[in-house]
């Protein structure tokens, strides 16, 4: 469907972008466009102005320093999959990105867009949550930083205020024997959206789980962490009892909807399956050392 007219800006600095976003009546920032243009064409978003962020220098970098990996919000999924830093430190991210869209879509779609679109089914957010990611938000009054757990506020809703953009996703580098996985249920890997997804990061020490993060997508209004599942795992060997408790806690934490992809009941059941699959995978890797 043809789009209705809107104004177009191509700012060259973050500050200029924030100013335009603060001043325009109904502005939308444009990154990869793979969600935004669909929403505009479907009249789900009716911008008076589109602010193309792609030409702001230094917003698409990926680098490691001071104990953090910083992913610029405009980094494409293709760049995430190619980045030596990411491949070295967090291979789960390229693994996850491989499920998303198609090669052409991954050349366009961005890490920041996948977060800011705030789809409950987005694949990167649960993985970022399992990795204790933080986000940097820029506005007219400077930057603020928050844990990603506070960023998602509902379907399509984030903590971004008027005149603010997401500039970085930051992930702490980690030491120790971390086992990280993302399990996704879908009909088809390419061009499909998760029916449900489960990311987990466990630090193993002497056969026990010393730290745990469990995060889910597509089963609640936002991606969620599951503290109950994490508590069930910490301090215990990865055996049936701890795993069953974590799985039950994960299923209990969901608030799924029924839609064309799946019923709420199915999503809830499948979250249990995905968490089990992730834990068994982690256990097998741990046992294989």
């Amino acid at each position: 469907m043809a789009m209705r007219p809107f104004k177009y800006y191509r700012p060259s600095t973050v500050r200029e972008a924030c100013r335009i976003l603060a001043e325009e009546e109904r502005p939308f920032p444009l990154a990869g466009g793979t969600d935004l243009l669909v929403h505009i064409q479907r009249r789900q978003k009716r911008p008076t102005a589109v602010v193309n962020l792609k030409r702001i220098p230094d917003l698409a970098g990926i680098e490691a320093n001071d104990g953090w990996v910083r992913i610029g919000s405009l980094a494409s999924l293709a760049a995430l999959m190619r980045s030596p830093v990411i491949l070295g430190e967090f291979p789960v991210l390229p693994y996850t990105a491989r499920f998303m869209g198609s090669p052409a879509i991954r050349n366009m779609a961005t890490v920041g867009g996948n977060c800011c679109n705030a789809s409950p089914a987005a694949d990167l957010p649960p993985v970022f949550l399992a990795l204790d990611a933080e986000v940097v938000i820029a506005g007219l009054n400077g930057e603020r930083r928050m844990p990603l757990t506070e960023f998602f506020r509902g379907p399509g809703k984030t903590a971004l205020g008027r005149g603010e953009i997401l500039t970085e996703v930051c992930i702490p580098l980690r030491r120790g024997d971390w086992r990280i996985s993302y399990e996704r249920l879908d009909v088809r890997h390419a061009m499909d959206i998760a029916i449900a997804g489960a990311a987990m990061a466990l630090r193993m020490e002497d056969g026990r789980c010393a730290e745990a993060r469990v995060a889910l997508c597509a089963v609640a209004p936002t991606p969620i962490r599951v503290p109950g599942a994490e508590e069930a795992l910490v301090g215990r060997p990865l055996e049936d009892e701890a795993m069953d408790t974590a799985i039950a806690a994960s299923m209990d934490a969901t608030l799924p909807i029924s839609d064309i992809r799946a019923t709420a009941e199915y999503r809830r059941e499948m979250v249990g399956m995905l968490v089990r699959r992730g834990l068994v995978g982690i256990l097998q890797k741990a046992g294989g050392r």
Binding site: P5, T48, N52, A190, M191
Partner: protein, 170 residues
């Protein structure tokens, strides 16, 4: 409804410099098909799901129905019309013909452009890599077997033409 002025777009399309005034809400696909009359690139789903509108931006596959024309300022766009060298078809085009990789033809432009993008990144893909490389391109005739074969043949043709150790350039 805001009154919106057109902006000047400067880019390269199929090797030729282009300068046009464009309304901001025009997609790259609309610009190519309607303003430049390059109608080889097709509109099918309009939501990025089918790949029929695939073009190359600076050599990499992109979905032209989900880009604004103004987004390609300063960049190089290659469409299906830009692949042949004069009368000589691109090896991927020749292989689609020789292997029967075309049925109704509606997906073909996007398929071929995506395949050219794949082969420039990975000149000798396995069958699995070809399937992954074309995972965003749907053929409603379901002629995938011959499409995959065509990409394999194109890869062989391009390797035979390129001196050993040299980079394969379109």
């Amino acid at each position: 409804m805001p009154t919106v002025e057109r902006l000047t777009l400067r880019c390269t399309v199929n090797g030729r410099p282009v300068e046009r005034s464009v309304a901001p809400h025009r997609t790259l696909l609309e610009f190519l098909r309607e303003d430049l009359r390059l109608t080889g690139t097709n509109l099918s789903c309009g939501t990025g799901d089918c790949g029929a509108c695939t073009v190359l931006i600076d050599g990499k596959p992109a979905i032209s129905c989900l880009m604004l024309a103004l987004d390609v300022e300063g960049q190089s766009v290659t469409t299906i019309e830009g692949l042949a060298s004069g009368p000589e078809l691109h090896p991927v085009q020749r292989a689609f013909l020789s292997e029967g990789g075309v049925q109704c033809g509606f997906c073909t432009a996007g398929m071929i452009v995506a395949a050219v993008g794949l082969l420039s990144e990975n000149p000798s893909p396995t069958e699995t890599e070809i399937r992954a490389g074309l995972e965003g391109n749907l053929c409603r005739c379901t002629g995938y077997v011959k499409i995959i074969r065509a990409v394999q043949v194109a890869s062989e043709m391009m390797a035979a033409r390129a001196p050993a150790g040299s980079e394969v350039v379109r």
